[in-house]
Amino acid sequence: MPAIGSIRMALALLIPMHGVVVFAGFFAPYDYAEQHRDYPYAAPTGIHFKPLPYVYGLKGDSQEDRTRVYALRFFIRGRFFGTDPPGHVFLLGTDGYGRDIFSRVLYGGRISLATGIVATGWALAIGLLWGVTAGFFGGWLDAVMMRGAELFLALPWLYLLLAARAFLPLHISPVQAFLLLVAIIGSVGWVRPARLIRGLTLSLVQCPYVEAARAFGGGPVYLIRRHILPETRGILLTQATILIPYYILAEVTLTFLGLGVGEPVPSWGGMLAEARQYHTLVTHIWMLTPGVATFLTLLGYVHLADVLQGRRDPVR
């Protein structure tokens, strides 16, 4: 049965999400660290239409003050939307420090999405190199490499991730943390692409046209570059759509547990960690938005992966 929807549907979800996150500086009305100590745990600001959108002022206990009206403006102060001070527009309310959740979700997405994508690139690079080398040269090198790769599958992935993180310094700068995270996350999950690519390489190496090129004097580098690499595109693409959501989730989980990129850089995982105070959470359900954002991102990628998979094996 053909996959429901098409690539367009998945992209219709993914591209806006990524776009909005990449351009968080424009789409977010507030900076991620901007605190409004007068309005902790504020509820989402209601937007009213008359017909132009406007908001009411907020009182200390986050109740609407109908005496003060502020128009919702667009392209104000270099941002997509906002209001004149002292008005506030907290689309998704605020957290314990009075920071706008909507803005933080947008900025926070940067780390999660960036980690997911960069780590995928890293994992696929390793997988490609490993798989092509093992498949091309065969013999004992192949056996050793693939057995070695299996060691990475011997641990459940989260245990491996945490163990790798454990053995590295706990308190590091956000930049270091990001790079570290990418390296560690990428080291979980390169094995499957490597195997697939190895299989492909093994079968290609035996193709007559590769042998012919070898007979003309083609060396390993030429043969790999010209005859094998172009064929790996398909695998790399499908694996990317599978790995990216996996890795985004890994980053969110690690940061949630306190082992990822830390303050002051916002991230979905960190925000969810703040949401763990359940008594506050029940009355401030919007604090779960980062989780919803993660969910939507994953949904887009899962759907994309499904469609691509459906294209490779049409009869299911």
């Binding site: 049965m1 429901i4 057995r147 070695g148 299996e150 060691l151 599958l153 011997a154 641990l155 459940p156 992935w157 989260l158 245990y159 945490l162 163990a163 790798a164 993180r165 454990a166 053995f167 590295l168 310094p169 706990l170 959501p245 989730l249 969110v252 989980t253 949630f256 547990l257 306190g258 082992l259 969810l272 949401a275 763990r276 359940y278 008594h279 959470l281 029940v282 359900i285 779960l288 989780g291 919803v292 993660t294 969910f295 939507l296 994953l298 949904l299 899962v302 759907h303 499904d306 009869v315 299911r316």
Partner: protein, 313 residues
């Protein structure tokens, strides 16, 4: 028999490999349990050195590995500096928790997904099946993190289920423990379901499309018999392999859920040890989880061996 012996050898190789790698890795780690103390001005360098020597942290790597290996052989998993006691009992205390959780989730997951998968395979190209696919995709995309937090918040709100831990204060009976199990097991099972149902559906689908099944159906064999006597045994092979493959995800999900719900399994122990830099415990948990995964795969291999005559040669 040779097949099984080879699988066992393979598992042992993996265990040894992981142990070497983890040991190497832990050695690369800057700092150890006493590093935090280094910044404390009240503790002199000499004291630190003495503490380290006392705990054998200053001996060369191969020596430490050999010592560790020998003690493992005796069943001694090292000494936890954080808990000030042997690591073995710590692990033993937490293992049942994880096993219970993962075991229940596995059982429940398979119990639900096999019928669902079969139904889904039988009713391909129909609207109910299409909506199931959508629901499953959505379920697959919901992070367990989110599910757990949401359910726990709900539990706190409604008060009908406890929000974490193993027992409510003052109670130690099985019924209470059961109530505490509901949320963790639900989250784990819901996380497993999409993956399992998909695979069951595709395995049964493939078997249904196979020539032998079509021929049997053409012969007029009733559907139920066709399913149970002909199709399911063939679909077994990929499903048993799936069991082995999904084990890793399950254990990982369990780690997270245990930490979130405060369930006394290996997860919280692991996390605490990481923050405390208690490497003996970290190593111990790594080895145990590897052993679980390898063990689970061995069980799958064994089942495959029994179920699939082609493997027996």
């Amino acid at each position: 028999m040779r097949y099984l012996a080879r699988r066992l050898l393979h598992g042992a190789f993996l265990l040894v490999g992981v142990s070497v790698l983890s040991f190497l890795f832990s050695d690369l780690a800057p700092g150890d349990y006493y590093s935090e103390l280094q910044s404390d001005p009240r503790v002199s360098a000499a004291t630190l050195a003495a503490l380290r020597t006392q705990n054998g942290l200053d001996r060369p790597l191969p020596v430490r590995y050999a010592t560790w290996l020998k003690s493992i052989g005796r069943g001694d998993f090292g000494y936890s500096l954080a808990y000030q006691g042997p690591v073995g009992p710590l692990l033993a205390q937490r293992i049942p928790g994880t096993l219970l959780l993962t075991g229940l989730a596995t059982a429940l997951g398979w119990l639900l997904s096999v019928p669902l998968g079969i139904w889904s395979a039988a009713r391909r190209r129909s609207w109910p099946e299409a909506s199931l696919k959508v629901i499953l995709s959505v379920l697959l995309s919901i992070p367990e993190l989110l599910m757990a937090i949401a359910l726990l918040a709900l539990a706190v709100q409604t008060g009908c289920l406890p929000a974490g831990g193993l027992h409510s204060p003052g109670r130690a009976d099985a019924l209470d423990a059961l109530r505490h199990l509901v949320i963790p097991v639900t989250v784990l099972t819901l996380g497993l379901l999409p993956i399992l149902v998909r695979h069951v559906r595709s395995a049964v689908s493939e078997a249904l499309d196979a020539p032998f099944a079509l021929a049997a159906a053409a012969h007029g064999i009733p559907w139920r018999r066709l399913l149970f006597r002909h199709v399911l045994p063939v679909a077994m092979n990929p499903l048993i392999s799936l069991f082995g493959l999904s084990l890793g995800s399950l254990l990982s999900a369990s780690l997270l859920v245990e930490v979130l719900t405060g369930w006394p399994g290996l997860g919280p122990l692991f996390l605490d040890a990481i923050f405390a830099r208690d490497y003996a415990v970290v190593l111990g948990v790594v080895m145990i989880s590897t052993a679980f995964l390898i063990g689970g795969n061995m069980v799958a291999d064994l089942l495959l061996y029994r179920a699939d005559p082609r493997i027996r040669g």
